[in-house]
């Protein structure tokens, strides 16, 4: 990254200028250096990359911008019916694959109606009820590997649990998790010009078709869950069609799968590299697990940022913006601001005042945040209990090459002292859990069913 004496335009308003490209291995390799350079020189800067956009990295600046809701739009106007805004991805997806990413790419009032529709399924009280279900999936995943002494924390655990829970909450049969798992991850880590892209597109299409079939089925034969809420929803006076709901379902899957996987994998890797911290976390989990979770969220920020479009000429945090300009809000870089997080590049499991923005800020705060925290804590707790001496293999760990979209991992193999199985394997467990889910109607909203899931093991 260099600060350039670029040709000034628009009266020199688009300054300071930097060369900033988050979709490069360089950004991943030098993330901390780049972050602190930007903090020091230009916490809001203009870059000509990806069509030209602002990038906000300072904590104060990101906070003020995220709060300036009247000047920022998430809208993705695919058909060009409104103001042609391009949503939260910078650069936007290619024309052929453009689709509105659910309510994350909408503004109020529609956005608010979607949130109100789904809140009762995703609140802290709603998620608490699922804990026995989550624990059972975790148990089965670990049981598949516990006697061998080998596990891949991504393939064998962190990919599976979020996928199964998300499908269960949606009201989709959980055994179908394999149809959703691969495209959900591969579509994030595959570079656009990769030879593997066609395979990924095929898998994504199959996933889309299955989603459409599930939507149609649940419209016809209702069963409880997020999809049921969506097909019956009143969104500002209209009932959305399946095309729109497909985008919402893709958001729930895209938001729910890869991010939780990323957080879990990175954290388990770090704990393996710091065995004393790992022992301490295990011993003191009652007082430490909550703050450690927030610290891993801050440090790894799995969803590193989001794009916005400026809706009117305005001045925010000392910068003049013009209508239509694009802005990247970097949660990840704001999370490393030393003015808010002393010694920001160090993981401190007891960190105080940890007001990180890893779930975003403002009205688009991640609606799955309670799911993420709960699933993460249940997976990590089980690993600490059942394989406390695990050692990750640095040669086998595969991080995403670029972290512009999700700060993720593909593989995290580890070895450990073998232990004993506690119950049936994954397939049998999922069949049992599907029955429990159906019988107890676990996927009802918390306003309908308050009780915790009962899993008899």
């Amino acid at each position: 990254m260099t600060t350039e004496d670029a040709a000034v335009d628009d009266g020199g308003r688009k300054h300071p200028q930097v060369h900033f490209d988050r979709h490069t291995p360089d950004y991943r390799d030098r993330f901390e250096d780049i972050t602190h350079e930007l903090h020091g020189r230009c916490p809001i800067a203009w870059t000509e990359t990806h069509g030209g956009h602002w990038v906000a990295s300072g904590n104060r600046e990101v906070f003020e911008l995220a709060r300036s809701a009247e000047f920022l739009s998430n809208d993705h106007d695919v058909k060009g019916e409104r103001r042609g805004y391009k949503g939260i991805s910078i650069p936007p997806p290619p024309r052929a694959r453009e689709a509105q990413g659910g309510f994350l790419e909408m503004d109020p009032p529609d956005q608010r109606h979607y949130r109100q529709t789904l809140n009762p399924y995703l609140s802290p009280a709603a998620i608490q009820r699922w804990i026995p279900f989550v624990d059972e999936v975790v148990r089965a995943c670990i049981d598949e590997k516990i006697e061998s002494g080998h596990i891949d924390f991504v393939d064998d655990l962190a990919n599976i649990v979020p996928a199964v829970l998300t499908l269960a909450m949606m009201g989709i049969p959980v055994e179908r998790w394999t149809i959703y798992n691969e495209p959900a991850h591969a579509s994030v880590y595959t570079p656009p010009n990769s030879p593997d892209m066609q395979r990924v597109l095929d898998l994504s299409r199959k996933m889309g078709m299955d989603l459409m079939a599930q939507l149609a089925e649940i419209r016809k034969n209702p069963r409880p869950g997020l999809v049921d809420a969506l097909v019956r929803a009143d969104i500002n006076g209209r009932n959305p069609d399946d095309g729109e709901l497909l985008g919402v379902c893709a958001l729930l899957i895209g938001g729910g799968f890869d991010t939780t996987t990323a957080l879990t994998a990175h954290s388990l890797e770090w704990l393996s590299q710091h065995p004393e911290e790992r022992s301490r976390l295990s011993r003191e989990r009652k007082t430490l697990l909550d703050s450690a979770t927030e610290e891993f969220l801050r440090f790894y920020t799995p969803a590193p940022g989001d794009g916005r479009t400026i809706t009117a000429d305005c001045e925010i945090a000392g910068t003049e913006f013009k209508e239509g300009e694009r802005l990247w809000l970097s949660w990840a870089m704001a999370n490393r601001d030393p003015s808010v997080f002393p010694d920001p590049d160090r993981i401190d499991m007891e960190r105080k005042g940890n007001r990180h923005s890893s779930f975003g800020l403002g009205i688009h705060r991640c609606i799955g945040s309670n799911v993420a925290r709960t699933v993460f804590k249940r997976m990590v707790t089980a690993v600490l209990d059942r394989m406390p001496d695990y050692e990750c293999d640095p040669e086998g760990a595969v991080h995403y090459e670029t972290i512009g979209v999700i700060q993720g991992m593909r593989h995290l193999p580890a070895t450990f002292t073998p232990g004993e199985r506690l119950g049936p394997g994954l397939d049998e467990t999922l069949a049992e859990l599907q029955k429990v889910c159906d019988e107890q109607r676990l996927a009802e909203p918390v306003t309908v069913r308050k009780s915790t899931a009962r899993i008899d093991t």
Binding site: Q116, N119, A126, E294, G353, R355, L361
Partner: protein, 64 residues
């Protein structure tokens, strides 16, 4: 010491209830926070101060 949550700013991050569960209660519907009572008992003051600093939206205010 009195504490208040601004309902316009709260977005349901839930960090306050993690820090000071006796002071902040969360809506069962959307996880947004409100105070159990405005007046903070002395033995909860430290936790409540920490909760104020932990809110990403800076939605909590103290009045001594």
């Amino acid at each position: 010491m009195k504490v208040r949550v601004d309902p316009e700013r709260c977005q349901g991050h839930t960090l306050c209830a993690m820090r000071a569960p006796d002071t902040f209660e969360l809506s069962e519907i959307d996880g947004h926070s409100s105070v159990v009572a405005e007046e903070v008992p002395a033995d909860q003051e430290a936790d409540v101060r920490e909760a104020v600093l932990s809110c990403p939206e800076r939605a909590i205010s103290l009045i001594s």
